[in-house]
């Protein structure tokens, strides 16, 4: 674990300014097998210390890869000088952030650093299973990843902290030859989530059933896949897609820095943005009585993390903030200021963002649609500050007269979030979480996202 040489530097914090010191270690372990060949076998570590100083409405920041008493003092001084430079030229006449109750939140513990051999042998076992059982595949890829962030935080105003956030996943990608002679692809995240690899995976055999399901789906897609009819359609978004909707199409527009930048959420606060069934929350560390996929207990500004309720009964009721934006919008900061590496400054980021489940049964939702689609898997999602979104859809089914029909080939759906949410008329009573991806916003960041099956109207691309 990171040794604390920060706390005893608090005497160096300047009065009249907000100061954060953060030492951080990021570990990444990765093994990649492509058609049985080990094309990725990498272990990386990034470790260092940074300081950020807030003065007169602007920030100075500095970081270094050396973690010693001297370098801690150096980055503090450099961050102060940078803040002073910017304050001289572009200061905003603001004082320090509002005082917060001091405290110390410690959730760190020693992580198991699994040997590289374990990842490779596990991946080889999965690859052997696929190669032996499904020799007709055009290609197969098995990826095992484990990453972690350990942060030691020391602040002038708020909570100090020491936390770890480990996660590990297995990805399996398959390519099969389609009926038209063109390859079709699918991938699946098998198990995983919060925790190091040894905590999430015991033996390869436990993954075989999920691999079989993936093969079954790609065979359906390859043999019988059809393109959907283009146009505005009634669809059911599966939980993976509704989670992406929560994150990409709504979540980003209600990050306060993007609101200040002119996002569609600015004029919509306290207005209806969805049907009465729609509720959306960015959970901090606990949801529905259980830990969230990637729990955050204290953010990198020293704010104790709490849930941010964003949409309540279809009304936009809040934003996600850092300390500065919360003061601007007269809201309470809830722990959304997060940095990816030691050399990154905290940005407003999501944590575990989800559409809340409703009361409908999925079977009833399907039965209620005469002509539409049930969309299950995605490989990509983007949205902009107008709320217009686009998701790639890699698997789904037609719905004809209340029953599932033929499988779908790759397509795209799009819409405008605050229009589309008003068309939501059914939500399933079960939800799915996903946490294997990285959100991109100047820096990457591990995030969780989730949701139930959502019945709504969207544009679907067809071909």
């Amino acid at each position: 674990m990171i040794q604390d040489i920060l706390t005893d530097k608090k005497y160096l914090f300047a009065s009249g300014a907000n100061t954060e010191l953060r030492a951080q270690r990021n570990l990444n372990r990765r093994a990649v097998l492509l058609n049985g060949a080990l094309v990725g076998n990498v272990r990386t570590e990034q470790f260092g210390v940074s300081a950020r100083v807030y003065e007169n409405g602007v920030y100075g920041f500095s970081s270094t890869a050396e973690y010693t008493d001297e370098t801690v003092k150096d980055v503090l001084q450099a961050a102060s000088e940078n803040a002073a430079f910017l304050a001289r030229h572009a200061g905003k006449g603001k004082g320090p952030h509002k005082a917060m109750a001091p405290g110390r939140i410690v959730t760190a513990y020693d992580l198991t650093d699994v040997e590289q051999r374990t990842y490779i042998e596990f991946a080889q076992a999965l690859d052997n299973y696929i190669a032996t059982k499904y020799p007709d595949l055009v290609s197969r890829t098995v990826v095992i990843t484990c990453d972690s962030m350990e942060k030691l935080l020391c602040v002038s105003n708020g909570c100090d902290g020491h936390s770890v956030l480990p996660r590990s996943y297995i990805y399996v990608m398959m390519t099969a030859m389609g009926a038209d002679g063109k390859p079709v692809e699918l991938y699946k995240v098998i198990g995983g989530g919060y925790g190091t690899f040894d905590k999430n995976y015991t033996k390869p055999e436990d993954c075989f059933a999920e691999i079989d399901k993936l093969y079954d789906r790609i065979q359906q897609k390859a043999k019988d896949g059809v393109y959907p009819d283009a146009g505005t359609k009634t669809v059911i978004l599966g939980g993976i897609l509704s989670g992406m909707l929560a994150h990409e199409a709504v979540g980003h527009t209600v990050e306060a820095d993007l609101v200040i930048g002119g996002s569609v959420a600015g004029p919509c606060l306290n207005k209806r943005v969805g049907s009465e069934l729609v509720n959306l929350v960015d959970f901090a560390h606990t949801a529905f009585g259980r830990p969230t996929p990637l729990p955050v207990y204290v953010d990198d500004e020293g704010t104790a993390a709490t849930d941010a309720v964003l949409i309540q009964d279809g009304i936009l009721v809040g934003y996600m903030n850092n300390r500065e934006s919360a003061e601007r919008f007269n809201m309470v900061p809830q722990g959304n200021a997060r940095a990816y590496l030691f050399s990154d400054e905290p940005l407003i980021r999501m944590r575990n963002t989800a559409v809340l489940p409703g009361k409908s049964k999925l079977s009833d939702m399907i039965a209620s649609i005469d002509d539409g689609y049930y969309l299950l898997d995605t490989n990509n999602g983007q949205a902009d500050t107008t709320g217009e979104f686009m998701f790639g859809v890699t698997f789904g089914y037609e719905i004809k007269k209340g029953k599932l029909g033929r499988p779908l080939l790759d397509t795209t759906i799009s819409g405008v979030a605050f229009d589309m949410l008003k068309t939501v008329d059914m939500l399933s009573d079960e939800m799915i979480w996903a946490s294997s991806g990285m959100c991109g916003k100047k820096q990457p960041m591990p995030v969780g996202m989730g949701g139930p099956a959502v019945k709504c109207r969207v544009n679907i691309g067809g071909r």
């Binding site: 058609n35 060949a37 076998n41 990498v42 272990r43 990386t44 570590e45 990034q46 470790f47 260092g48 602007v58 100075g60 920041f61 500095s62 970081s63 270094t64 050396e66 450099a78 961050a79 940078n82 803040a83 430079f85 910017l86 030229h89 572009a90 040997e115 590289q116 990842y119 490779i120 042998e121 055009v138 290609s139 063109k182 079709v184 692809e185 283009a230 146009g231 200040i260 930048g261 002119g262 569609v264 004029p267 050399s343 995605t378 990509n380 983007q382 902009d384 500050t385 107008t386 217009e388 686009m390 790639g392 859809v393 795209t412 799009s414 405008v416 100047k442 544009n459 691309g461 071909r463």
Partner: protein, 433 residues
Amino acid sequence: MIETLKKTAQDAVAALQAAGADKAQASVSYTVTHEFNVDGGEFSLFRTLFDKQLAMTAIQGGRKGVVAQNRYDEETIAESAKACLEAAHSAQPDENWDFAPLSQNEDFVLGEVKPDTDKLFFRCQELMAAVKERYPKIIMEQMIVDHKEVYRAQANSYGVLFSAHQGCYEVQLMFSGHDGDKASSFFGSGVITDSLDKPFLELGSIAEDFENVEKQIETTVVEGKFQGTMVVMPGCVGSLFYSLLSDFAGEGGLLSGTSPWKDKLGEKVADDRITISLAPLDERIVCGSRTTGEGFRAEDFDVIRNGKLNAFYLGLYASNKLKLPRGKNDSFNVVVASGDTPIADIIASIDKGILVGRFSGGQPSSNGDFSGVAKNSFLIEHGKIGPALSETMISGNLADMLMRVRDISSEQVADGMSVLPYMAFDGITISGK
């Protein structure tokens, strides 16, 4: 500094060999970054970063392992060498792993290695003032402007020893247009430059991008669905070709066997007017890489030359495994040859189509099928650029598209990372509501 890093890289190679590596490579870098940020139209952050990187690669008995750290003291090098060999021991042997043989070592100096921080800040202020005055409907959601000074050394067990000391400025802008509660989609623009002689507004396509986005606040929706011509703006050409070159000519598609071009080296894959090069040495590319990650001296090469597939974009491992020539650099500095027709004349020749500034789509399939939303785009009707569009989808196939080139503009945009023209493709499916 450079001599110290060269010795460190050689020490790391020696440590790997001492730990049992048959072949070894190490790269070491030290980077100093000065960066200004604007958020929501106001200066928000000034940061200075001091970063180190060490990457060590070992091959032992055909087994390869890689370890990367951001420290390179003696103890770290020794520990990393041990970890690297442990990682390699876990791998299965593959005789295709290798590094570049010794050719001619060199020390490179590129760009403006030391920052003029005061002038950099002045150029930032100047840009913000110009936007306020000339483009009053633009809100700068984020501006990130930095200078990176990089010292880098690379060595391997064949005796390769390169170094580089380089510096350049990068401008990254994210902005949108606003009029009351109405807003355009956001748009990203940027350049890399090694000179602060010109205002940022005069570089790349920044000024044109501001103008376009101001026109995109009011949008209309295309009625129905039609086959038409898609004119792709230079910045968007780069993102489309990234997918194309990665999936069709890159290692992923070729090693997996899914690339539709896998058996087409030397054959026609595009319209005769298309030449696509990867050219880090082009004089319009700023601080393009002079060496590859495997220790070769970088050279420019054409992936497609006059419509024929001239080369794949392969590293040494894939080259050895597939028995195909390797790509002569591993940058992604794309240069697309210009055509003969001014963009205004290309637009004037189109009866119905779309001018696309950004494509927001799913990852194209390995067969080249793509579909997505045309963002920051305009309708083209009767030879004129019409209203901006929203909720308009485009779909097609990347391979087919290359064969259906209508025209390529005589103008190119050079942003320091790429040199790209406007390109017009027929037969694209365009659908609205």
